[in-house]
Symmetry: C2
Subunit: 403 residues, 2 copies
């Protein structure tokens, strides 16, 4: 992935900086950047999606409050500690992080968002964070988008950056996104943070609508381990510095903008799925021929979250019975006798019974990207979900995450 | 476990035999018994519970048909192949297994149940199974209950046998159970087979009621990996050979019988949870202080199925944030600010905030049996679920299961 990043175009008026606050490992030092600041030179129209977990981190609670204005100028982010389940102190810390960034950047406090990711239940080391925020504000513009993507990683193995260019009435706008994922990734949303920036002028209602759709078919359709985070946040900021006529939901450019935004979100979510903790393979699960889209989606998620399916893919084992069993317990309208199952393009099950093509199916499973398709042959609806295999690496990462 | 088994008392009139059919590994030989036959010398009153998966193995379909009579004489069981998703041929094979056992035992065919466990989607090697059924019928009584428990294992690491003795009007009856579990264990039921035999005379309606309750608070409250099997079967046979006055739901002995049956089922289900694939620890999750029992149960299952919780227990990591996050996504009535969390007897979270007792909590986690309690402090209802930790061993077993 990273080899692509030198070509990443930047939207006008967005600046980055990063810092090392040793949030997770004060004694040894973090050995890498663990804070980032994103700043827009002009007020940006802003939409966001947050975790639907009833337990929400302080930064998420603050974000839900602040997104109401529909405007933003900056986001201050840290990795290593999620500031979740930290009580009143946590809420105060999140507010203070925003206030410090606002003061040092010289912008209104309510236009600053905060995102934190990492361990739950431990107060933030504010004494180390405060000076770093001041430093990042002073040096804003000193880091690249790739640097910022690196600083927000937790157990990610590579920084995640993607961009789209879009011609709008003679000018070329840019949509840039950075994100992090790795574990605790499940619908709705994930332990994922995603920040998308564009210089294209978009009306708030149009941005809300386009972003909702983009999140719905990207970040809400990935799952690593079925665990839903308390910190998930996806924010899009559109500062309009391209100078185009503001895009509304009824303007001619809307559908192209929406498509570009959705494509970008999908590309980022694919990177997250590919980089699941310990993963060796990206898996796309498609359920088609369903009576309803809800059935297709539920079936796809049940397969994608099945440990037995994920371990079979890891082991290159065309063990389609585990897929059939997952469909059978998904609570959807299905009949074993009508179901076809494919690994890649190889039909391993026809109308509920094995075709015996295990050798060819095994080949499809040995690829880095594995497609599993179940055709229920009951209707016209379909849905896809991205996930990854599960390996000893996942167990190791999560058994040793804190210790 | 096995060290206890020499003392296992036997109910009157139940006989066992086992055989080696090399069902899974014809070339190398199975190296261990993979078939068992259970036979009652008298007609037994019979109740059963089967998987609720929409995809059901042929033996389960046959069992659902045959249980209607409420009577049984024998069960023929094989491991290594579940005879699931094998089409019409699979149904024919299940019927033939029962017919062969009936013919060689000299009993009516409809009184024979069949249970198969193992790989899905592969036809049974009937040419190797047929002669073994005849052999087992001829040698009925040659094997112990422990032998039978060993023969029905798949990835189990130890045979599972338990018993209860019960005084009924001057006579002492016996309830004996054997079962297998290991993976794909989730509510409702599991890839588990369980056969319970008693010489106590019980009326069918009373047996149905007692068994339903016993299954509800044992096999339906364990989860290994959240995957639900297509073969789950629990059968109880009561042949009345003790000669006691038949127990009815209104007789004085009913509640003691029910309690003994439930206790036995719970003991067996605990063995299954402890022997989860690759598991190193038994975990009991209790959610209390819930508004409803359904909330308590859903909360307990969400925690018990969380990979992040299971890996944290494996790593002796008092990472309670993962428990809070699981409760937050469980779809139950809860409030972070009211929730207490305990590892063993150590309260690690009080009203949503850490108590800092990580050292003591770590000690509780280093035990072979770990109790996790979440008190929602919202009401009076509670529920418990048994599970195990997840380790590299689970991944290995399931990535290499077939290959």
């Amino acid at each position: 992935m990273p080899e692509k990043t030198p070509d990443i175009p930047l939207p006008l008026g967005f600046l980055f900086s990063t810092a090392e606050a040793a949030i997770k490992k004060p004694a040894k030092g973090s050995k890498r950047k663990d804070m980032a600041l994103i700043y827009s030179e002009a007020d940006a129209v802003c939409s966001a999606a947050f975790t639907t977990n009833k337990v929400k981190g302080a930064p998420v609670k603050l974000g839900i409050e602040r997104i109401k204005s529909g405007k933003a100028r900056a986001v201050v982010i840290n990795s290593g500690n999620s500031n979740v389940s930290t009580g009143k102190r946590g809420m105060g810390d999140a507010r203070e992080m925003a206030a410090l960034a606002a003061r040092h950047l010289g912008i209104p406090e309510h236009l600053v968002h905060v995102s934190s990711t990492g361990v739950i239940g431990v107060p933030l080391p504010m004494q180390r964070i405060r000076p770093r925020i001041a430093e990042m504000a002073r040096s804003i513009g000193s880091a690249s988008a790739l640097d910022a993507a690196g600083a927000i990683m937790t157990t990610d193995t590579f920084p995640k950056v993607a961009a789209r260019r879009l011609k709008i009435g003679g000018r070329t706008g840019t949509i840039l996104g950075i994100c992090k994922g790795a574990g605790m990734i499940a619908p709705k949303m994930a332990t994922m943070l995603c920040f998308i920036m564009t210089d294209i002028a978009v009306k708030r209602s149009a941005l809300d609508r386009a972003f909702k759709e983009a999140v719905g078919c990207s970040f809400n359709r990935i799952t690593i381990d079925g665990d839903m985070s308390t910190s998930d946040t996806a924010i899009v900021m559109a500062n309009g510095m391209l100078g185009n006529k503001e895009i509304t939901a009824s303007s001619s450019h809307y559908s192209r903008f929406k498509k570009a935004l959705s494509g970008l979100a999908y590309e980022l979510s694919k990177m997250i799925a590919r980089d699941g903790e310990g993963a060796t393979k990206l898996i796309e699960v498609e359920v088609r021929g369903a009576r309803t889209e809800a059935d297709a989606l539920r079936g796809a998620f049940t397969i994608a979250n099945s440990l037995l399916v994920k371990t079979a893919v890891y082991g290159n084992d065309a063990n389609w019975g585990r897929i059939m069993a997952a469909l059978g317990r998904a609570g959807i309208d299905m009949s074993e006798e009508k179901t076809d199952i494919y690994f890649g393009k190889v039909r391993i099950v026809s109308r509920g019974v094995s075709t015996g093509k295990y050798d060819k199916a095994g080949e499809a499973l040995r690829q880095k990207e594995v497609k599993i398709t179940a055709d229920l042959n009951m209707g016209r609806h379909k849905a896809s979900v991205l996930t990854c295999d599960i390996t000893e690496g996942y167990i190791r990462v999560n058994a040793e995450y804190r210790t």
